[in-house]
């Protein structure tokens, strides 16, 4: 190796970061939004009415209504998932898995009547949540792409630390009076270094979340590939009960719910009913995670035909399994209260800033000399940068806007919202590819700001009468307006930016960016 260690790390950082940067930006943005997944879902279904409490008897009755609906509509399904109502979300959510090759089913029921809930159909925050690790692709493809990008991100993080010469002296430095490249480098360094503990934690724990998929060999060797057996033996789920192959009748689930509530403390979250029409059917009552870093759901399993308890699972994980569940718990941050969740969200935004500013930095550092035509590579990176950094936030705004503007009785409404998401993304990316770079950035960022403002206006105009808690909805709208203001501000800065005379006269350096001042 002719170059020094630091130079080779700078090369590695620049190129590993560029190659995965676009996917990582999407993963960071949707992941950051997912900290408020429940809130996004609530905003997207303003018809929802929250309740003060839900009595245990009402919970049992809801479970019975859910099973009645499933017996009628999804009798042949392999597994039923019943999410029980909570005061925050008083709905029964049903999901069922059919035979392989047939799409799964999904419906929301009103817990009082057991009929489908009268609410606009939407995928809500769940769409962004799934996009975060599947990119709206087939799950296997999406998870592999996101996972590989996350692994490269770990490489980029570590090589970035090595490359950064003045990590302590520049810790607090955000120079605004120097050339554009200096400013972007400072923004990249500050957002990267300040939230470095978060970035390392979130990337590593993100890979660990799906580690069994990326590295299945341990389970292949020890459990013959049966990951359910592995999860059961490590105490993360209850033992699987294989189907008997003979028909059986499911006992009423209401008493099982009552029994589960008497067995374990804490709120009951959902029921999983496996092989519902088999003689060996199983009902598993899954509780919410108790307060703790670790992601663990206490569970009670019942024999479906008799309603007898077959297993109670509550804590007591072995150290290895507990390490895994703690990393998953840290990644999801379900334990975080309002203030801490706000800080996680802030760290997520800094992650978005780090990836976005890194992408722009590549572009700025290689800006063609005044008058020279940019090469194909530069134009390609510019187009992808603009398409991702402005396109994705614009897509999210369009997704929210479509939620308010599409006709309520439109067939396939959730799919149309997703089409609006991708339509806006493509439109911004394509429209931004033609004009001169600075005009393109200014216009695209302004368009994103306008889309967020439009979503707020559409909310106030069409859904005002539906709000069950106007202060809450106005607060959400205010957050959207803050995002709009942020994009408008950056758009204005792009339009007004003039580098210092010295830098303009010399022309921006065209070589590999220096990662720290020499």
């Amino acid at each position: 190796m002719k170059q020094g260690f630091r130079q080779s790390m700078a090369w590695l950082h620049t190129w590993s970061g560029l190659v995965v940067g676009w996917v990582l930006f999407a993963v960071f943005v949707t992941g950051t939004a997912t900290y408020y997944r429940a809130e996004i879902s609530r905003w997207m279904q303003p018809e929802l009415r929250r309740e003060a409490t839900i009595a245990p008897e009402a919970l049992a009755a809801s479970a019975d209504r859910a099973v009645a609906y499933l017996q009628e509509q999804a009798g042949g399904a392999r597994t039923w998932f019943v999410t029980l109502p909570t005061p925050e979300r008083p709905l029964i959510e049903l999901f069922w898995r059919n035979r392989p090759g047939t799409p799964p089913g999904h419906v929301l029921l009103d817990p009082r009547t057991g009929a489908p809930a009268a609410m606009r159909a939407t995928r809500g925050g769940d769409f962004l949540y799934r996009f975060h690790f599947e990119l709206n692709l087939a799950p296997l493809w999406g998870r592999w792409i996101v996972g590989l990008c996350a692994m490269v991100m770990l490489v980029a993080l570590v090589s970035g630390i090595v490359t950064h010469r003045r990590i302590f002296t520049d810790f607090f430095t955000l120079r605004r009076d120097k050339a554009a490249q200096r400013g972007w480098l400072d923004a990249h360094n500050v957002s990267g270094v300040l939230a470095l503990p978060f970035h390392l934690m979130i990337t590593y724990s993100g890979v660990v979340t799906l580690a069994l998929m990326y590295m299945p060999w341990g389970v292949t060797a020890a459990y013959k590939g049966d990951s359910q057996a592995y999860f059961a033996e490590t105490g993360q789920i209850t033992q699987a009960r294989p189907a008997a192959g003979a028909p059986g009748t499911l006992a009423p689930v209401g008493p099982m719910v009552a029994r589960a509530l008497a067995t374990l403390p804490g709120p009951l979250e959902r029921l999983t009913i496996v092989n519902p029409r088999d003689a060996q059917s199983t009902v598993v009552a899954v509780f919410e995670e108790p307060h703790g870093l670790s992601h663990e759901h206490p569970q009670v399993a019942f024999a479906g035909t008799s309603g007898a308890v077959v297993e109670v699972l509550s804590g007591g994980l072995a150290p290895a399994a507990r390490t895994f569940t703690t990393l998953v718990g840290l990644h999801e941050a379900h334990f975080a209260g309002t203030a801490l969740r706000g800080l996680f969200f802030l760290c997520g935004l800094m992650g978005c800033t780090m990836v976005g500013s890194g992408l722009v930095l590549w572009q700025v550092a290689r800006q063609p000399k005044h008058g020279a035509a940019p090469g194909f590579g530069w134009r390609l990176v510019h187009g992808l940068n603009l398409g991702t950094v402005a396109g994705l936030p614009g897509a999210i705004a369009a997704y929210l806007l479509a939620n308010r503007l599409l006709p309520l009785d439109l067939a396939g409404r959730p799919e149309w919202e997703v089409r609006a998401f991708f339509g806006a993304w493509i439109a911004i990316a394509v429209a931004g590819a033609w004009p001169a770079p600075r005009r393109a950035w200014r216009g695209a960022l302004a368009a994103v700001a306008l889309l967020f403002v439009a979503a707020v206006l559409a909310d106030v105009a069409t859904a005002r009468g539906l709000w069950d808690d106007p202060a809450w909805f106005l607060g959400f709208d205010l957050a959207l307006l803050a995002l709009a203001a942020g994009f408008a501000l950056v758009s204005r800065k792009v339009a007004r930016f003039a580098g210092p005379r010295r830098a303009r006269a010399a022309g921006a350096p065209a070589g590999v960016p220096r990662m720290g001042p020499a």
């Binding site: 002296t169 810790f171 607090f172 430095t173 955000l174 300040l194 870093l293 203030a339 800080l343």
Partner: protein
């Protein structure tokens, strides 16, 4: 040690963030560039050592408070989160309005004391 999460986690975070802000501000001002932005001259040797010592002590105190209040599992998470938020505020303030530190630091100290008094235990 109190039970984690039983009382006002927001106040604990505020105390951590306040101590973290003061600590990071002291560390920041121990650097010539940032000291100059506030007082238009670099710190002398004694002042630099003093600021640096106070800075690390306050950051460490912030961690100690977090662990005392929220235990070994949640404490470090709270601490890092609060420190990151405080650091971001500090960086934005000292690159746009460096002299605002002269009144922000006393305000942060006051808020920290008030929040600390509001935290039982």
């Amino acid at each position: 040690m109190t039970m984690p999460g039983t009382t006002s986690p927001g106040l604990t975070l505020l105390v951590c963030a306040g101590l973290g802000f003061l600590g990071l501000a002291a560390l920041c001002l121990s650097l010539a560039r940032h000291h100059q932005a506030v007082w238009s001259h670099p710190p002398d040797h004694r002042r630099r050592l003093g600021l640096r010592g106070a800075g690390w002590a306050l950051v460490a105190l912030s961690l100690a408070v977090a662990i005392h209040r929220d235990g070994w599992a949640f404490g470090p998470v709270d601490w890092l989160g609060a420190l990151t938020g405080a650091g971001l505020l500090l960086i934005v303030v000292q690159s746009y309005r460096p002299r605002a530190l002269l009144w922000l630091a006393p305000l942060a100290a006051l808020l920290t004391v008030v929040a600390a008094l509001g935290v039982p235990g």
